[in-house]
Amino acid sequence: MPDRKIRIGDAWALLLFLLVLAGLFVTPHDPMSQAFRDSALEGPSLSHWLGIDGLGRDFASRLWMGGANTVSLAAAALGISLLLSSALVAVEQGGPGWLGRLVRMGIGLWVAFPVIFIGLLLLVFLKPSPGALVLAVGLGNTAFAFRQLRVYWMNVRGALYVRSSEVLGSRGWQLFRWAIWPNLRPDLFALCRLLFAISALELSGLAFLGLIGDPDFAELGSILKQNQAFLYQAPSLVILPGLLLSLILLSAHLTRFHR
């Protein structure tokens, strides 16, 4: 494509995501060690940019790691919903008619179960852990993703330009790569953006409920849960995690990577 200029929103979102994800590898201090218990709840200083949390851990490190974890877990959940729903759309569109009806019926029932129910159901037999939550959120959003994806696919597949390239002899991969994909991509990207935001919110919500298992696991929701106890003494411990999550999601909404 000739128009390759990156917009400010895209550049900003990319920068923020890379910066946040760096928290998986580098943080100023160890986010888990309670090395500074003597100065718990102390305010910001040069070595501790955002102060120290109630259990004596460097808060900037925890926040950074938490943001990185939330983003990567939400991305994993998004991956699950997207993979499952595309497989289902493929089966529904390409398979025999009875199978298609079965899939549509199954999805119609699936939407009746909210994420919170699926999460609790999974945790009955799985140990509460970040992985279980990712699975719950991914499965919970699959029905929604399927419905959107099916509409996009049917719109593009039935479009006149696709029909014309079929008439001109384009088949299979060729047809998909040159006629369908370029027009499916913007919708797909918009769906990903939406699903990412929903997944991140649901994931940190479930973590806030204490369903993530280890209460010390650095995830923005579980950090909020743990710091709620210090609402009076150190409000910034509660304000900042939510602010970071909102900033991440707002930046994701501002992206326009297509066209």
């Binding site: 129910f117 204490g210 609402l231 999550l245």
Partner: protein, 354 residues
């Protein structure tokens, strides 16, 4: 309406009957799937819930308890008995506290219903009145918060907003209580379990005021999401051209703004608005559980989450199923209401995959 069109009436009635039947079938299928899913999940539970509870790990004693709870029967017997127990409200006892699950539910459920109903009512009223007021008065700046609200739903976590409300209204201003449902220093109202209703029935204004103060922040928090969804839907519907033409026509007849927007237009767009609340019931349920946790509200959400984390067999079995049934009832109820408000919805579209 039906009398005016004698040849249409039987057809419409038949349509409605068919729709009701489809609704019932869907209800039954979802109930069976949910109950079987919960059963399977409990079967797949790695730990034995009984041996987790017994202090003395004597195999014979554990076997005895399992036998008395009927856990050693074949799976089909256990499943059918589980569904039967649920339907007959014989919900067994919590393995943790030893209290009957039904009594616990009777204690927690009214709290959740009181909070959710008020939250949805408040949110819907807020959303509708803001949008309609903006259109009726022509003050477009009233739509700014509506757009902000719509963006809020997908960017800001609801539980964080709840925490911010606590920080502002309770910690900084000291106006409202931080959490809980009632003041510990006073005896809470008794009767139906809905404190607002109970305090009115008892004629106790002080209890009523305490209840309202405790309800204010949770209802505000829970109402934000429905407000955003309702306002967004309403705004989209009002933008349609036939509405614009109708407004012009009604204005030409000399009706007041209040009458045009509050009566004619509201009636026209209320169907889709009610439908969208129904479809968002799942998200609302999640929001209710989160709100309960933020404000330490003694409701079903906390009860179920603790039940699952503690592997409390009968709480999980019947509590989770109850939540599914309640959510289904809410969705069906909203659907019915929407069809009553908008008769066009009674005719089922040809290509429906639900």
């Amino acid at each position: 309406m039906d009398e005016e069109n004698p040849e249409l009436a039987p057809n419409l009635r038949r349509q409605r009957l068919l729709l009701l039947l489809a609704e019932l079938r869907r209800f039954a299928v979802i109930f069976l799937i949910a109950s079987f899913g919960i059963f399977l999940a409990l079967e797949a539970m790695p730990e034995d819930p009984v041996s987790l509870r017994v202090k003395n790990p004597d195999p014979a004693r554990i076997m005895e308890i399992r036998e008395s709870l009927g856990l050693n029967d074949p799976w089909l017997v256990r499943y059918v008995r589980g569904v039967g127990d649920f339907v007959t409200l014989d919900w067994g006892q919590s393995l943790i506290s030893g209290r009957p699950v039904r009594e616990e539910v009777a204690r927690f459920l009214p709290a959740t219903i009181e909070l959710s109903v008020l939250g949805v009512l408040f949110g819907t009223t807020l959303g509708i009145s803001m949008v309609l007021m903006a259109h009726a008065t022509g003050w477009r700046f009233l739509l700014q918060p509506v757009r902000g609200l719509a963006a809020l739903g997908l960017t800001v976590p609801i539980f964080w907003i709840g925490l911010l409300f606590i920080l502002f209204f309770s910690v900084s201003l000291g106006l409202l209580p931080v959490g809980g449902r009632f003041d510990f220093a006073h005896p809470s109202p008794t009767g139906t379990g809905f404190f607002l209703l109970d305090s009115i029935l008892a004629g106790n204004p002080e209890a009523f005021w305490i209840t309202v103060r405790h309800l204010a922040l949770p209802v505000l928090t829970l109402g934000l999401y429905p407000a955003a969804v309702v306002a967004g839907t309403l705004e989209a519907r009002l933008g349609e051209s036939y509405i614009q033409r109708l407004v012009t026509a009604l204005k030409a007849r000399g009706f007041s703004s209040l009458r045009i927007w509050g009566r004619h237009i509201l009636r026209l767009v209320s169907g889709p608005v009610v439908t969208v609340i129904g479809t968002q019931a799942g998200a609302l349920l999640g929001g209710a559980v989160l709100t309960e946790t933020v404000y330490s509200w003694p409701g079903m959400g906390r009860f179920l989450v603790d039940g699952v984390l503690n592997r409390d067999l009968f709480v999980i079995q019947h509590g989770l199923l109850l939540v599914v049934v309640m959510a289904l009832l809410a969705i069906t109820g909203f659907d019915y209401l929407a069809r009553q408000l908008d008769h066009q919805l009674s005719i089922k579209p040809e290509d429906s995959d639900a």
